[in-house]
Symmetry: C2
Subunit: 424 residues, 2 copies
């Protein structure tokens, strides 16, 4: 049962959180060694997963994501080596303040404790997530997609053995395998401190709706681009097409285009030609259909996350109207303005209430790797704790430590005896 294990993990968490940076980095080093020296066995298990996927008529696009070959093992271990080099996120003194003589307050970073991550069938995801947890001193419950179950199993076993060799506690990581384990995990309030679900919108929404444990993630990705009245035609077409077609099945692909009425006639014909060339179906309002030949959009199309070669287009009178539409109907994930007017850009970026607000670039840049963060555990559209791509910093909290020498509050009841002085 996941809960039994989570209870043991809760007891291991303080130990895990107080291991030195050296021990945690050594554990990642041991993981690298174990992966590299067991490449052949890993690839064999991975081949069995792929064979099964082929037997099950899984699409080629998905099978491509399941593959864990020599070059992918090299790439992921290189990522681990980079992670070792990163500064230790634990034990950072955020504040050191004298409250009175001999009464010293510290605010220090520490791990969150026990984190559950549910992720898609991609073998490198398991390794990245586990290593971020090790680096940040958290215990972790991992539940990967079943399509890579054999690959996950061998990788998990190798990692678990490797990190124990480096001195990590036995109960620092656990792999959940059964589908029912997800529901068990959601019931682990008091033992699991945070859940990070990745996957389809409906799956993430299900997780959010069925647990009292804090959840970081994003259930929707209704990404919008707004084209302002002063815009550069080539840039606009390039950015919109890239945002739509570079990879359609993801949350940061544009789904809805909002165009200033003064820009529509100049932009839409050329844009529509590019869409046609790339087999993108356009759904527009009646007004849009007076300018270009496209399908008729219904009301619901403007809040639909297509995840496909489809885009909806509507017109507005002002940047304010566009911002209002985005804030009201968008999903607060990634939204972009195309404009040659920097003050309009700043207005948009300040007023749009989204984790990622862009000017004159593809919405597909919204990603931890492209931000230069290294590995990410997830993307958050919530505004509490972590927002946007979440790396190490999302797996960290802090605590207050107060060192005294017999100090009693009765002596400070009127407040006059405090001698506040920041030391750091």
């Amino acid at each position: 049962m996941v809960k039994d294990y989570a209870m043991k993990m809760k007891k291991a968490a303080p130990i895990m959180g107080t291991l030195s940076s050296e021990v945690r980095n050594n554990a990642i080093q041991e993981a690298i060694k174990a992966l590299l020296s067991n490449k052949k066995a890993i690839i064999e298990e991975n081949q069995k997963d792929i064979d099964e996927a082929i037997r099950n008529n899984i699409s080629q696009a998905i099978i491509k994501r399941l593959v864990f070959d020599d070059s992918k093992i090299e790439a992921v271990t290189k990522g681990l080596a980079d992670l070792i080099e990163l500064e230790d996120p634990l034990g950072k003194v955020l504040l050191k303040r004298q409250l009175d003589e001999g009464l010293i307050l510290h605010k220090e970073t520490c791990p969150i404790g026990v984190i559950g991550v549910i992720f898609e069938a991609r073998p490198d995801a398991l390794i990245q997530i586990a290593s971020l947890c090790i680096k940040s001193g958290n215990c972790i419950i991992l539940k990967g997609g079943s399509e890579t179950k054999r690959t996950n199993r061998i990788i998990f076993t190798l990692l678990h053995e490797a990190v124990q060799k480096a001195g990590l506690p036995l109960h620092c990581m656990y792999q959940a395998e059964a589908r029912s384990d997800v529901d068990d995990l959601l019931q682990c309030e008091g033992y699991v401190d945070l859940i990070i679900p990745r996957g389809s919108n409906s799956f993430v929404r299900y997780i959010m709706d069925n647990t009292r444990i804090p959840v970081i993630g994003h259930a929707d990705g209704l990404t919008n681009i707004y084209v302002d009245k002063t815009f550069d035609l080539k840039k606009a077409i390039d950015i919109i097409v890239d945002s739509k077609i570079q990879y359609v099945a993801v949350c940061n692909a544009v789904e809805n285009l909002i165009v200033h009425r003064e820009a529509a006639k100049q932009l839409l014909p050329g844009l529509n030609d590019e869409f046609k060339k790339n087999s993108v179906v356009v759904r527009g309002t009646d007004e849009v259909r007076e300018i270009i030949d496209c399908e008729k959009a219904d009301e619901a199309d403007f809040t639909r996350e297509y995840l496909d070669y489809i885009i909806s287009i509507e017109l507005v009178d002002s940047i304010e109207e566009a911002i209002d539409i985005i804030n009201t109907l968008g999903s607060h994930h990634t939204d972009c303005i195309i404009s040659e007017d920097l003050s309009a850009g700043d207005k948009f970026m300040n007023l749009v209430d989204s984790a990622n607000v862009f000017m004159n670039c593809s919405t597909r840049f919204s990603d931890g790797y492209r931000y230069g963060f290294g590995a990410e555990v997830g993307v958050s559209t919530g505004k509490i704790h972590a927002r946007g791509p979440v790396g190490l910093e999302g797996m960290i909290t802090y605590k207050y430590k107060l060192y005294g020498n017999g100090h009693m509050v009765k002596d400070y009841a009127d407040g006059s005896r405090f001698k506040f002085k920041d030391i750091i």
Copy 2:
């Protein structure tokens, strides 16, 4: 209806969040003026609340908290003046990074948006909370205790008029009055970004259990003190007695004392004498009762938040056992070690999984004001977003802004074209 207002507030929130620091500080200045120049009217309304409380046989201790007189108005306006002097928490650039030439990423602080705060009947609380929201650029829904309804009403009206004079949007603050408004507020997902409940444990637990909006708060305060084998008798007695009796009705008063078996015979007799002098009832295990004369504790007493002149005492064999008890049965709020051994202190403070971990000082120090934070909106025992006393920093999030010049992801698909360089 709270929801109708919350929807309007959601539209006002981006405006509120982009007002300059000067405008927000002026709004607080106007609030100070309005409070000072309407002292007489405020005190009159407050007297009506107090008269009603007396008619309703409310206890003297509670009535004392309802009083809002000349000196309290002076104190709270002084607090507002201090708040104006604090650094602006908005628009801080946490990261500025070149991803490639002309493609610049900013990570900037911004307000959370719309915050609902439910707080106890204390007129200064309304003013402190509202002013923290103004300073941090958040819109706020305020719901105060009904015992100060007349005082709250006049103060809210004065504040609302004052901040509009300074240019804040009409819908930047709203006062909910009916008890049913609380349940309405809990249904405002999508419009309200964060709820901060203060009050009784059962009330906070009710809020946490009945909304999908993120909640910051603490439902319990089972505060523990552990006395280690090497301890100073006078310090120990002073600290324990102060932690128990300085103010019994609060979450940071000690409820449970855990004593190392080697310390028990030296500590307990003298401590028990002090407890008797101060009318504190002691409940101990059989072992404790062999050393001192006290009531017999049952199992449940060690997880009971008395909020009264009662304390439970148990013995342990080691610091590890004490830490395990605290992590398993405590409420992760405030826990203290009394020891003359610094390495034991550090062990305790590192391994105890609580927001506030203390060594050799009263647990009653666990408080934003005593930490020198100025006003606080609440105390969090959660580990996500904000932990411990929550001031301005708990009302802030951040967003990523990416400025480009026609950049498309297709040109960066293999990652080699990025030129990451931190500018700040």
